[in-house]
């Protein structure tokens, strides 16, 4: 196998899994919003903000690819390919699971707001707890890219 194939598998995991995580997360928020709108249709702004929160993981995955794209050359070394694969694995899986979990926190918050509890601020704070790890994985990807030889 050529090193670049290995690297691209990592990139695929990175964009794919992180994107799936966000897709799951935002749909959970969206579903909960539609239910909550039935009870309380005045807080749509709050629902939308909370539903959008898990959207970032997918962007991190995409930007991870963007950072690494300059190193994806035909003659790349195995060391570079392994670094890219590792970064992809980390960002992909963390993005997937943190996106889904963050979506669950947001969905519960939306349901609670719909039932008349004033928990928008609390949900915002709690919902970014799981996202931190996706941010850390993204920062790690960035730092990995910084160590790669051009």
């Amino acid at each position: 196998m050529e090193p670049i194939i290995f690297a691209y598998i990592g990139i695929g995991l990175m964009i794919g899994l992180a994107g799936i995580g966000s897709a799951f997360g935002v749909s959970m928020g969206g579903n909960a919003s539609i239910g909550a709108l039935k009870k309380n249709d005045e807080a749509f702004g709050n629902y939308m903000v909370l539903s959008a929160l898990p959207g970032t993981q997918g962007l991190y995955g995409f930007m991870g690819y963007f950072i690494l794209s300059g190193y994806l050359t035909a003659g790349m070394s195995w060391a570079t390919a392994a670094a890219i694969f590792g970064a992809g694995l980390a960002l992909g899986f963390v993005g997937l699971l943190s996106g889904i979990r963050q979506g669950q926190v947001c969905a519960n918050g939306i349901a609670a707001i719909g039932s008349g509890h004033n928990v928008f601020g609390n949900t915002l704070i709690l919902a970014v707890f799981p996202e931190l790890y996706a941010i850390v994985a993204f920062a790690a990807t960035f730092l990995i890219a910084a160590t790669l030889p051009l």
Partner: protein, 602 residues
């Protein structure tokens, strides 16, 4: 906050309450535990009034001619509510009718009378439907049928059956329609006219009665407040003397005291005590005031506790700028806030002020990190950035690495600042003897940093400074482990000190690393902007006018998405840093309730 207790003769009490309400500074202490049914009903009514007001306010009255203004809010409210109930009912009827019409439509018009007469002659009209593909022309010869129509791939036909014997045709028999189409259509027209009529009536109320209904709602609220005030009054001496208690902020009591003195009303005033849980009124000046709404999202401070708003405000502003970090977006936010500030309602002015500050900070960090609408300024060869880029290269680093360290340094500063506030807070609430442990931690952390700094700056190896370091360890260790609360037994102090040390050791590192998000979010917003710029350039093609058009569309949509997503992140993540990392290290406990005086609304 001062606690006031008023003793008033029962006959003067209504007048007294009226006056207190007019002055509007007393936050009444609640004594009753259950809400009486009467009050609950009023609350329900208030909710209904608010609903009606909201519905009316949403309507676009258009070209309705305004009639005489209605001043009786109560009647107007009841009328409007009745209209809305009617509207609801009619609307439901219309929905059911639509459904029926769509079922009957393929059968068209028929006369029920004729069908009934035929039945009298032992001729039964049966209604059938079958998929057009399964309908056989030969049926015309085999059965007495007549096609009525074709609709959505189905053939609708009737069969005249003589006697009771089933015809055995291979099609689905339908229930005969209740009413012919023309009757339904007529009924629908009438319903639609009714709806139009109700709507135009409601439109009139928007113009004539909205204000009166609003005032009616405020009145109801005042009545409830008044009933509550009465319920919170203690009746003493055979109900001859009324005792009412409440809190008044120190700087707002002048008018109240003047009134009390002038009318010889007996009152006692004393400084509020923390154990009574007095209400909280924050006193922040111009800049910090705008950040109060963020603090409210978490919790108000306890009474006597330091309000952290002015202390987190500058950090929050910096952190927001760090996370969004684009000079172009900063300028946009600043301009938008300034323009909108003049146009928006009073309540939103504060938010616009906040957005302006955040925009300034975003611009500032955009300049530092060299990002302008996603364009990396360090790569552009602009005068200052070119020199800086060259200097970074010499030292084998780049702006991103520096931002990485900057995020940690800012985090460290905020954490240490939080510890300082904790020491001040403990001193303020319980006296300095409670703050020794925290001061020990500050000493240990700042001392270690100072020693490390000295060793780096002077070139003295850190090992040579060991004696100073050990002395620092000994002093701060003593304070942390044994003297953390001078009012307690030293052994208890030791146990708690150990527990505290465990928490600090595991917590502070995590807290510090948590600030990396500032760097990562800043990078992510810059890269996303850059991605959209490259997309715009590469996808716009080379057709003269079209390419500019496509490029503009991609840029506007792309930067719009980035501004929203990154702006959301930049709003939320610094908030978490404030409420979790900063509040924890500053020892904030919170849980105060809002100062909400008994006052007139209309």
């Amino acid at each position: 906050m001062h606690k006031f207790s008023f003793l008033v003769f029962h006959r003067d009490y209504p007048e007294f309450l009226e006056k207190v309400r007019e002055i509007g500074v007393v936050h009444l202490i609640e004594k009753q535990e259950d809400v009486p049914d009467q009050v609950r009903d009023k609350y329900d009514l208030i909710k209904q009034v608010q609903w009606v007001v909201k519905q009316l306010a949403k309507r676009d009255a258009g070209e309705t001619t305004p009639g005489e203004p209605i001043t009786d809010g109560k009647t107007a409210f009841e009328d409007v509510r009745a209209y809305y109930n009617n509207l609801d009912e009619k609307f439901q009827q219309l929905t059911l009718l639509q459904k029926e019409i769509s079922q009957v439509r393929p059968w068209g018009d028929f006369s029920k009378e004729v069908i009934r007469k035929l039945a009298g002659e032992n001729l039964h009209v049966k209604f059938f439907t079958v998929a057009a593909s399964r309908f056989q022309e030969s049926w015309y010869e085999e059965y007495p049928i007549e096609e009525i129509g074709r609709h959505a791939g189905q053939v609708y036909f009737v069969l005249i059956q003589q006697g009771e014997e089933e015809p055995g045709i291979d099609a689905e028999e339908m229930r005969p329609p209740e009413r012919p189409l023309s009757e339904l259509l007529h009924y629908r027209k009438k319903l639609e006219e009714d709806l139009d009529e109700i709507n135009s009536e409601l439109d009139k109320y928007v113009l004539n009665a909205l204000d009166a209904i609003k005032v009616y709602g405020y009145r109801l609220k005042e009545e409830v407040d008044y009933t509550n005030a009465l319920a919170n009054t203690d009746k003493q001496a055979d109900e001859k003397v009324m005792l009412m208690e409440g809190y008044v902020p120190g700087e707002k009591n002048e008018r109240l005291i003047a009134y009390l003195e002038k009318n010889n009303i007996l009152y006692i005033t004393q400084k509020a005590e923390e154990k009574d849980k007095p209400p909280i009124l924050l006193k922040n000046k111009k800049f910090a005031e705008k950040f109060e709404m963020l603090g409210d999202l978490y919790s108000l401070p306890k009474y006597n506790e330091l309000d952290l708003t002015p202390f987190f405000a500058p950090f929050y502003m910096l952190f927001f700028g760090f996370c969004l970090g684009d000079a172009g977006y900063g300028i946009l936010m600043g301009i938008a806030a300034l323009l909108l500030k003049k146009k928006v309602r009073k309540e939103l002015k504060q938010i616009m002020g906040l957005v302006f500050y955040l925009g300034v900070s975003t611009f500032f960090f955009g300049v530092i990190s060299g990002v302008f609408f996603g364009i990396p300024l360090f790569d552009t060869g602009l005068p200052v950035y070119k020199d800086l880029a060259a200097r970074f290269e010499q030292q084998d680093t780049d702006i991103n690495m520096l931002l990485f360290y900057l995020s940690l340094i800012l985090g460290g500063i905020q954490i240490i600042f939080g510890l300082f506030l904790k020491a001040i807070n403990e001193t303020k609430q319980f006296g300095w003897k409670h703050a020794v442990g925290t001061i020990g931690w500050i000493l240990l952390i700042t001392g270690s940093i100072a020693l490390y700094g000295i060793s780096r700056l002077t070139g003295v190896p850190f090992a040579d400074l060991n004696p100073a370091f050990y002395a620092l360890l000994a002093v701060s260790g003593l304070m942390i482990l044994f003297l953390n609360n001078l009012n307690r037994n030293i052994m208890i102090n030791f146990g708690l000190g150990l527990w505290n040390t465990y928490n600090m050791a595991t917590g502070i590192l995590g807290d510090l690393l948590s600030y990396i998000r500032l760097f990562a979010l800043g990078i992510s917003s810059a890269i996303l902007g850059f991605v959209f710029n490259s997309l715009a350039v590469s996808m716009s093609g080379s057709i003269p006018v079209v390419s500019i058009l496509v490029m503009t569309i991609i840029l506007v949509i792309g930067h719009g998405i980035n501004l929203f997503m990154s702006g959301l992140g930049a709003f939320v993540h610094p908030m978490r840093l404030t409420f979790v990392e900063f509040y924890k290290n500053a020892g904030f406990s919170g849980g105060g309730k809002q100062y909400n005086p008994f006052k007139k609304i209309t």
